[in-house]
Protein backbone atom coordinates (compact mmCIF):
# COMPACT_ATOMS: atom_id res chain seq x y z
CA UNK A 1 0.00 0.00 0.00
CA UNK A 2 1.35 3.45 -0.87
CA UNK A 3 1.83 5.93 1.93
CA UNK A 4 -0.93 8.48 2.50
CA UNK A 5 0.85 10.51 5.12
CA UNK A 6 4.39 11.44 6.02
CA UNK A 7 6.41 12.87 8.89
CA UNK A 8 7.62 16.46 8.61
CA UNK A 9 10.71 16.97 10.76
CA UNK A 10 11.49 20.58 11.59
CA UNK A 11 15.15 20.99 12.36
CA UNK A 12 15.72 21.55 16.08
CA UNK A 13 12.00 21.94 16.71
CA UNK A 14 9.96 18.75 16.42
CA UNK A 15 7.85 16.81 13.97
CA UNK A 16 4.38 16.83 12.48
CA UNK A 17 2.17 14.35 10.66
CA UNK A 18 1.19 15.54 7.19
CA UNK A 19 -1.31 14.00 4.83
CA UNK A 20 -0.25 13.49 1.21
CA UNK A 21 -2.89 16.04 0.08
CA UNK A 22 -2.14 18.56 2.81
CA UNK A 23 0.03 21.66 2.64
CA UNK A 24 3.13 21.21 4.83
CA UNK A 25 2.54 24.53 6.59
CA UNK A 26 -1.01 23.54 7.49
CA UNK A 27 0.31 20.33 9.08
CA UNK A 28 2.84 22.40 11.04
CA UNK A 29 0.09 24.75 12.21
CA UNK A 30 -1.88 21.79 13.53
CA UNK A 31 1.21 20.30 15.20
CA UNK A 32 1.93 23.61 16.90
CA UNK A 33 -1.68 23.70 18.12
CA UNK A 34 -1.16 20.23 19.56
CA UNK A 35 2.03 21.34 21.34
CA UNK A 36 4.32 19.22 19.17
CA UNK A 37 6.63 22.04 18.07
CA UNK A 38 7.40 23.42 21.51
CA UNK A 39 11.02 24.47 21.03
CA UNK A 40 10.02 26.75 18.12
CA UNK A 41 11.56 30.11 19.12
CA UNK A 42 8.70 32.09 17.63
CA UNK A 43 5.10 31.60 16.66
CA UNK A 44 4.98 29.63 13.43
CA UNK A 45 5.07 32.14 10.59
CA UNK A 46 1.68 31.69 8.96
CA UNK A 47 0.49 34.17 6.36
CA UNK A 48 -1.59 33.65 3.24
CA UNK A 49 -1.04 29.84 3.06
CA UNK A 50 -1.23 30.17 -0.74
CA UNK A 51 2.28 30.99 -1.98
CA UNK A 52 1.93 34.77 -2.22
CA UNK A 53 3.23 36.47 0.92
CA UNK A 54 6.48 34.56 1.45
CA UNK A 55 6.41 34.50 5.24
CA UNK A 56 6.61 30.69 5.57
CA UNK A 57 9.87 30.34 3.64
CA UNK A 58 11.77 27.18 4.54
CA UNK A 59 14.70 25.13 3.31
CA UNK A 60 14.12 21.50 2.50
CA UNK A 61 17.12 19.57 3.79
CA UNK A 62 15.97 16.14 2.64
CA UNK A 63 12.86 14.58 1.14
CA UNK A 64 10.57 14.74 -1.85
CA UNK A 65 7.55 16.95 -2.35
CA UNK A 66 5.04 18.24 -4.87
CA UNK A 67 5.41 21.93 -5.63
CA UNK A 68 2.52 24.30 -6.43
CA UNK A 69 2.88 27.93 -7.60
CA UNK A 70 4.77 30.26 -5.26
CA UNK A 71 5.72 33.88 -5.72
CA UNK A 72 9.04 34.58 -7.47
CA UNK A 73 9.27 37.68 -5.27
CA UNK A 74 10.03 35.32 -2.41
CA UNK A 75 11.50 32.20 -4.03
CA UNK A 76 13.86 33.20 -6.82
CA UNK A 77 15.22 30.69 -9.30
CA UNK A 78 18.45 30.61 -7.25
CA UNK A 79 16.45 30.05 -4.06
CA UNK A 80 14.57 27.22 -5.72
CA UNK A 81 17.78 25.53 -6.82
CA UNK A 82 19.17 25.93 -3.29
CA UNK A 83 16.19 24.02 -1.88
CA UNK A 84 14.12 26.93 -0.57
CA UNK A 85 10.33 26.71 -0.73
CA UNK A 86 7.27 28.34 0.71
CA UNK A 87 6.11 25.59 3.05
CA UNK A 88 2.46 26.46 2.38
CA UNK A 89 2.87 25.53 -1.27
CA UNK A 90 4.37 22.06 -1.05
CA UNK A 91 2.75 18.69 -0.45
CA UNK A 92 4.89 15.82 0.91
CA UNK A 93 5.83 12.83 -1.22
CA UNK A 94 8.17 11.38 1.39
CA UNK A 95 9.15 12.19 4.95
CA UNK A 96 10.72 15.66 4.94
CA UNK A 97 13.40 17.39 6.97
CA UNK A 98 13.13 21.15 6.76
CA UNK A 99 14.54 24.25 8.38
CA UNK A 100 12.34 27.31 8.96
CA UNK A 101 13.76 30.59 7.75
CA UNK A 102 11.79 32.80 10.13
CA UNK A 103 13.53 34.77 12.83
CA UNK A 104 12.29 36.60 15.88
CA UNK A 105 13.31 40.12 16.48
CA UNK A 106 12.25 42.51 19.18
CA UNK A 107 10.53 45.64 17.96
CA UNK A 108 10.85 49.06 19.55
CA UNK A 109 8.01 48.31 21.93
CA UNK A 110 9.43 45.02 23.07
CA UNK A 111 6.79 43.18 21.09
CA UNK A 112 8.07 40.07 19.40
CA UNK A 113 7.54 40.30 15.71
CA UNK A 114 8.22 37.80 13.01
CA UNK A 115 9.93 38.72 9.83
CA UNK A 116 11.68 37.07 6.99
CA UNK A 117 15.45 37.17 7.08
CA UNK A 118 15.50 39.33 4.01
CA UNK A 119 12.85 41.66 2.73
CA UNK A 120 12.64 41.41 -1.02
CA UNK A 121 10.37 42.83 -3.66
Amino acid sequence: MTATHFRIYVKDVGAADCNIDERVLVALERAQGLGQLNPLPCKLPVGCRRGGCGICKAKIVTGEFLRTPMSRSHISVDDEQAGFVLSCSIYPRSDLLLKLECSTKTGTKGKKVISNEEENQ
Binding site: C48, R50, S71, S73
Partner: protein, 306 residues
Protein backbone atom coordinates in the same frame (compact mmCIF):
# COMPACT_ATOMS: atom_id res chain seq x y z
CA UNK B 1 -24.51 67.16 -8.88
CA UNK B 2 -22.92 67.57 -5.48
CA UNK B 3 -20.48 64.68 -5.94
CA UNK B 4 -17.95 65.75 -8.58
CA UNK B 5 -14.40 64.88 -9.57
CA UNK B 6 -13.37 61.43 -8.37
CA UNK B 7 -16.54 59.34 -7.93
CA UNK B 8 -15.37 55.97 -6.63
CA UNK B 9 -12.96 53.07 -7.06
CA UNK B 10 -13.28 51.85 -10.63
CA UNK B 11 -11.16 48.74 -10.85
CA UNK B 12 -8.10 47.04 -9.43
CA UNK B 13 -5.73 44.85 -11.44
CA UNK B 14 -4.36 41.91 -9.45
CA UNK B 15 -1.52 39.54 -10.20
CA UNK B 16 -2.36 35.86 -9.72
CA UNK B 17 -0.05 32.84 -9.81
CA UNK B 18 -2.60 30.50 -11.39
CA UNK B 19 -5.52 31.69 -13.49
CA UNK B 20 -8.00 28.78 -13.32
CA UNK B 21 -7.97 28.68 -9.52
CA UNK B 22 -8.24 32.48 -9.38
CA UNK B 23 -11.32 32.44 -11.61
CA UNK B 24 -12.96 29.74 -9.49
CA UNK B 25 -12.25 31.82 -6.39
CA UNK B 26 -13.48 35.20 -7.64
CA UNK B 27 -16.43 33.91 -9.67
CA UNK B 28 -17.73 30.85 -7.80
CA UNK B 29 -16.76 31.84 -4.26
CA UNK B 30 -16.77 35.66 -4.11
CA UNK B 31 -19.73 35.71 -6.49
CA UNK B 32 -18.41 37.87 -9.34
CA UNK B 33 -19.14 37.29 -13.04
CA UNK B 34 -16.58 36.95 -15.83
CA UNK B 35 -17.22 39.65 -18.43
CA UNK B 36 -14.46 38.80 -20.89
CA UNK B 37 -10.95 37.52 -21.47
CA UNK B 38 -8.49 39.85 -23.18
CA UNK B 39 -6.13 38.78 -26.01
CA UNK B 40 -3.25 38.95 -23.51
CA UNK B 41 -5.04 36.56 -21.15
CA UNK B 42 -6.23 39.12 -18.63
CA UNK B 43 -9.62 38.24 -17.14
CA UNK B 44 -12.23 40.96 -16.53
CA UNK B 45 -14.69 40.47 -13.68
CA UNK B 46 -17.59 42.38 -12.15
CA UNK B 47 -20.37 42.08 -9.65
CA UNK B 48 -23.86 41.79 -11.11
CA UNK B 49 -24.74 44.79 -8.92
CA UNK B 50 -22.23 47.04 -10.74
CA UNK B 51 -23.10 48.85 -13.99
CA UNK B 52 -19.60 49.44 -15.39
CA UNK B 53 -17.76 47.01 -17.60
CA UNK B 54 -15.55 45.46 -14.91
CA UNK B 55 -14.15 46.17 -11.46
CA UNK B 56 -11.52 43.43 -11.01
CA UNK B 57 -8.84 42.48 -13.52
CA UNK B 58 -6.76 39.32 -13.07
CA UNK B 59 -3.33 39.06 -14.69
CA UNK B 60 -1.26 35.85 -14.61
CA UNK B 61 2.18 36.61 -13.19
CA UNK B 62 5.06 35.05 -11.26
CA UNK B 63 4.35 37.11 -8.15
CA UNK B 64 1.14 38.06 -6.37
CA UNK B 65 0.04 41.62 -5.59
CA UNK B 66 -1.49 44.55 -7.42
CA UNK B 67 -0.55 46.34 -10.64
CA UNK B 68 -2.84 49.36 -10.42
CA UNK B 69 -5.95 50.72 -8.74
CA UNK B 70 -8.10 53.04 -10.86
CA UNK B 71 -10.75 55.56 -9.89
CA UNK B 72 -13.64 56.76 -12.03
CA UNK B 73 -14.09 60.51 -12.40
CA UNK B 74 -17.35 62.24 -13.32
CA UNK B 75 -16.47 63.59 -16.78
CA UNK B 76 -13.79 63.50 -19.41
CA UNK B 77 -12.64 67.08 -18.77
CA UNK B 78 -11.88 66.05 -15.18
CA UNK B 79 -9.00 64.00 -16.59
CA UNK B 80 -7.41 67.13 -18.05
CA UNK B 81 -8.08 69.11 -14.90
CA UNK B 82 -6.56 66.41 -12.67
CA UNK B 83 -3.61 65.93 -15.03
CA UNK B 84 -2.70 69.60 -14.61
CA UNK B 85 -3.07 69.45 -10.84
CA UNK B 86 -1.06 66.22 -10.55
CA UNK B 87 1.68 67.58 -12.81
CA UNK B 88 1.76 70.86 -10.86
CA UNK B 89 2.14 68.80 -7.67
CA UNK B 90 5.29 67.33 -9.22
CA UNK B 91 4.21 63.84 -10.22
CA UNK B 92 4.74 62.48 -13.73
CA UNK B 93 1.48 61.63 -15.55
CA UNK B 94 1.30 59.05 -18.33
CA UNK B 95 -1.51 58.20 -20.71
CA UNK B 96 -3.22 54.88 -21.42
CA UNK B 97 -5.28 54.81 -24.62
CA UNK B 98 -8.96 53.83 -24.68
CA UNK B 99 -9.65 50.08 -24.84
CA UNK B 100 -6.30 49.06 -23.35
CA UNK B 101 -8.79 47.40 -21.05
CA UNK B 102 -12.05 46.48 -22.80
CA UNK B 103 -14.90 48.91 -22.21
CA UNK B 104 -12.72 51.51 -20.47
CA UNK B 105 -11.92 54.91 -22.02
CA UNK B 106 -8.64 56.78 -21.87
CA UNK B 107 -6.81 56.72 -18.55
CA UNK B 108 -4.18 58.87 -16.90
CA UNK B 109 -1.74 57.22 -14.54
CA UNK B 110 0.86 58.19 -11.96
CA UNK B 111 2.96 56.70 -9.18
CA UNK B 112 2.40 57.51 -5.51
CA UNK B 113 5.32 57.94 -3.12
CA UNK B 114 4.19 54.69 -1.49
CA UNK B 115 5.09 52.93 -4.75
CA UNK B 116 1.52 52.29 -5.89
CA UNK B 117 0.27 53.08 -9.38
CA UNK B 118 -3.05 54.94 -9.50
CA UNK B 119 -5.09 55.68 -12.62
CA UNK B 120 -8.12 57.82 -13.38
CA UNK B 121 -10.69 57.27 -16.13
CA UNK B 122 -13.98 58.90 -17.03
CA UNK B 123 -15.66 56.50 -19.41
CA UNK B 124 -16.76 52.90 -18.90
CA UNK B 125 -19.19 50.99 -21.04
CA UNK B 126 -21.79 49.02 -19.17
CA UNK B 127 -21.76 45.24 -19.32
CA UNK B 128 -24.08 42.41 -18.36
CA UNK B 129 -25.08 41.39 -15.81
CA UNK B 130 -25.96 44.76 -14.31
CA UNK B 131 -28.68 46.17 -12.06
CA UNK B 132 -32.12 46.64 -13.57
CA UNK B 133 -33.32 50.21 -14.05
CA UNK B 134 -36.97 49.90 -15.15
CA UNK B 135 -39.21 48.68 -12.32
CA UNK B 136 -36.00 47.29 -10.91
CA UNK B 137 -36.17 43.99 -9.10
CA UNK B 138 -33.44 43.67 -6.48
CA UNK B 139 -31.46 41.53 -8.92
CA UNK B 140 -31.72 40.20 -12.45
CA UNK B 141 -29.29 37.28 -12.11
CA UNK B 142 -29.74 35.43 -8.83
CA UNK B 143 -26.72 36.20 -6.60
CA UNK B 144 -24.31 33.33 -5.97
CA UNK B 145 -21.31 32.59 -3.78
CA UNK B 146 -20.65 35.33 -1.23
CA UNK B 147 -23.00 37.62 -3.18
CA UNK B 148 -20.44 40.46 -3.44
CA UNK B 149 -22.17 43.68 -4.51
CA UNK B 150 -19.15 45.71 -5.52
CA UNK B 151 -15.38 46.11 -5.39
CA UNK B 152 -15.42 48.52 -2.46
CA UNK B 153 -11.90 49.60 -1.48
CA UNK B 154 -8.30 48.52 -1.00
CA UNK B 155 -5.77 48.87 1.80
CA UNK B 156 -2.27 49.38 0.43
CA UNK B 157 1.04 49.12 2.31
CA UNK B 158 4.08 51.23 1.53
CA UNK B 159 6.26 54.10 2.75
CA UNK B 160 5.29 57.80 2.95
CA UNK B 161 1.61 57.44 3.84
CA UNK B 162 1.47 61.06 5.01
CA UNK B 163 2.59 62.17 1.55
CA UNK B 164 -0.23 60.07 0.07
CA UNK B 165 -2.63 61.70 2.53
CA UNK B 166 -1.58 65.16 1.37
CA UNK B 167 -1.79 64.18 -2.29
CA UNK B 168 -5.23 62.56 -2.09
CA UNK B 169 -6.71 65.44 -0.09
CA UNK B 170 -5.11 68.37 -1.89
CA UNK B 171 -4.89 67.08 -5.47
CA UNK B 172 -7.67 64.49 -5.87
CA UNK B 173 -10.08 66.23 -3.40
CA UNK B 174 -10.57 63.17 -1.19
CA UNK B 175 -11.44 63.58 2.48
CA UNK B 176 -9.51 61.93 5.27
CA UNK B 177 -12.05 60.05 7.36
CA UNK B 178 -9.85 58.33 9.93
CA UNK B 179 -6.21 58.06 10.97
CA UNK B 180 -4.21 55.75 13.22
CA UNK B 181 -1.20 56.97 15.17
CA UNK B 182 0.23 60.31 16.22
CA UNK B 183 0.17 63.35 13.90
CA UNK B 184 3.46 63.56 12.06
CA UNK B 185 4.01 59.82 12.40
CA UNK B 186 0.78 58.30 11.16
CA UNK B 187 0.55 54.52 10.92
CA UNK B 188 -2.48 54.45 8.62
CA UNK B 189 -4.83 56.83 6.80
CA UNK B 190 -8.36 56.23 5.47
CA UNK B 191 -9.59 58.30 2.54
CA UNK B 192 -13.00 58.79 0.95
CA UNK B 193 -14.03 60.33 -2.35
CA UNK B 194 -17.69 60.34 -1.37
CA UNK B 195 -19.88 59.24 1.51
CA UNK B 196 -18.33 55.87 2.27
CA UNK B 197 -16.09 55.47 5.33
CA UNK B 198 -13.22 54.77 2.92
CA UNK B 199 -12.47 54.20 -0.75
CA UNK B 200 -8.75 53.63 -0.27
CA UNK B 201 -6.46 53.36 2.73
CA UNK B 202 -2.70 53.30 3.23
CA UNK B 203 -0.54 51.92 6.04
CA UNK B 204 3.15 52.61 6.56
CA UNK B 205 5.38 49.73 5.52
CA UNK B 206 9.03 49.70 4.49
CA UNK B 207 8.56 47.99 1.10
CA UNK B 208 6.77 50.00 -1.59
CA UNK B 209 3.80 48.98 -3.69
CA UNK B 210 2.36 46.27 -1.45
CA UNK B 211 -1.24 45.07 -1.32
CA UNK B 212 -2.78 44.38 2.07
CA UNK B 213 -6.31 43.60 0.85
CA UNK B 214 -9.02 44.28 -1.65
CA UNK B 215 -12.51 44.43 -0.26
CA UNK B 216 -15.92 43.45 -1.57
CA UNK B 217 -19.08 44.93 -0.13
CA UNK B 218 -21.84 42.63 1.11
CA UNK B 219 -25.42 43.58 1.93
CA UNK B 220 -25.40 42.85 5.66
CA UNK B 221 -24.03 40.86 8.60
CA UNK B 222 -26.05 37.81 7.55
CA UNK B 223 -24.17 37.76 4.27
CA UNK B 224 -20.87 38.05 6.18
CA UNK B 225 -21.92 34.89 8.06
CA UNK B 226 -22.83 33.19 4.78
CA UNK B 227 -19.40 34.15 3.40
CA UNK B 228 -17.81 32.51 6.47
CA UNK B 229 -19.70 29.30 5.67
CA UNK B 230 -18.32 29.40 2.11
CA UNK B 231 -14.78 30.00 3.41
CA UNK B 232 -15.05 26.94 5.68
CA UNK B 233 -16.84 24.70 3.15
CA UNK B 234 -14.27 25.30 0.39
CA UNK B 235 -11.20 25.44 2.67
CA UNK B 236 -10.36 29.00 1.69
CA UNK B 237 -7.35 30.26 3.66
CA UNK B 238 -8.73 32.38 6.53
CA UNK B 239 -6.92 35.29 8.17
CA UNK B 240 -9.44 36.56 10.74
CA UNK B 241 -13.14 36.95 11.30
CA UNK B 242 -16.03 37.30 11.09
CA UNK B 243 -15.38 40.34 13.27
CA UNK B 244 -15.79 44.11 13.14
CA UNK B 245 -13.36 46.95 12.50
CA UNK B 246 -13.37 49.86 14.93
CA UNK B 247 -12.15 51.93 12.00
CA UNK B 248 -15.10 52.39 9.61
CA UNK B 249 -17.24 50.12 11.92
CA UNK B 250 -17.40 47.61 9.06
CA UNK B 251 -18.28 43.98 9.74
CA UNK B 252 -15.63 41.91 8.09
CA UNK B 253 -13.74 38.72 7.26
CA UNK B 254 -10.15 38.67 5.99
CA UNK B 255 -9.13 35.68 3.88
CA UNK B 256 -6.80 34.90 0.98
CA UNK B 257 -7.26 34.16 -2.68
CA UNK B 258 -5.46 31.11 -4.19
CA UNK B 259 -2.40 33.29 -4.94
CA UNK B 260 -2.19 34.68 -1.42
CA UNK B 261 -3.72 38.09 -2.12
CA UNK B 262 -5.76 39.07 0.92
CA UNK B 263 -9.48 39.59 0.31
CA UNK B 264 -12.06 41.13 2.59
CA UNK B 265 -15.82 40.92 2.57
CA UNK B 266 -17.31 43.87 4.34
CA UNK B 267 -20.75 45.10 5.37
CA UNK B 268 -21.84 48.36 6.93
CA UNK B 269 -19.55 51.20 7.93
CA UNK B 270 -20.46 54.73 8.88
CA UNK B 271 -21.70 57.40 6.50
CA UNK B 272 -19.23 60.20 5.88
CA UNK B 273 -20.03 63.80 4.95
CA UNK B 274 -17.25 66.16 3.91
CA UNK B 275 -17.90 68.45 6.88
CA UNK B 276 -17.29 65.63 9.38
CA UNK B 277 -14.20 65.82 11.57
CA UNK B 278 -11.44 63.23 11.20
CA UNK B 279 -11.75 60.31 13.63
CA UNK B 280 -8.42 59.32 15.16
CA UNK B 281 -7.12 56.22 16.91
CA UNK B 282 -4.06 56.53 19.10
CA UNK B 283 -1.41 53.83 19.30
CA UNK B 284 -2.80 52.48 22.56
CA UNK B 285 -6.07 51.61 20.81
CA UNK B 286 -4.72 50.23 17.56
CA UNK B 287 -5.93 46.69 18.38
CA UNK B 288 -9.50 47.86 18.83
CA UNK B 289 -9.21 50.10 15.78
CA UNK B 290 -8.40 47.18 13.52
CA UNK B 291 -10.19 44.23 15.18
CA UNK B 292 -12.87 45.68 17.43
CA UNK B 293 -13.95 42.45 19.11
CA UNK B 294 -10.50 40.86 19.58
CA UNK B 295 -8.98 44.25 20.58
CA UNK B 296 -5.57 43.01 19.51
CA UNK B 297 -3.84 42.77 16.14
CA UNK B 298 -3.02 39.34 14.80
CA UNK B 299 0.54 38.68 13.62
CA UNK B 300 -0.53 38.69 10.00
CA UNK B 301 -2.07 42.16 9.96
CA UNK B 302 1.26 43.97 10.13
CA UNK B 303 3.47 41.57 8.22
CA UNK B 304 1.53 39.60 5.59
CA UNK B 305 1.17 41.39 2.26
CA UNK B 306 1.61 40.65 -1.44
Amino acid sequence: MAHTGVLRPGFIQLRVLDMPSAITHYVDRIGLHQVSEGPDGRIYLKSADEFDHHSVVLRRADSAGMDVMAFKVAKDSDLDRFEKRITDYGYVVDHIPPEEQPGIGRRIGFMLESGHRIELFAHAEQSDPKPLTLNPDVWDYEPHGMRARRFDHALLYGPNVEKNLDFFCNVLDFSCTETVGPTGNLIAVFLSAGMKAHDIAFANYPSPGKLHHISFELENWNDVGHAADIIARYDISIDIGPTRHGITRGQTIYFFDPSGNRNEVFAGGFTFYPDHPIRTWDEGHVGKAIFYYERVLNDAFLSVVT
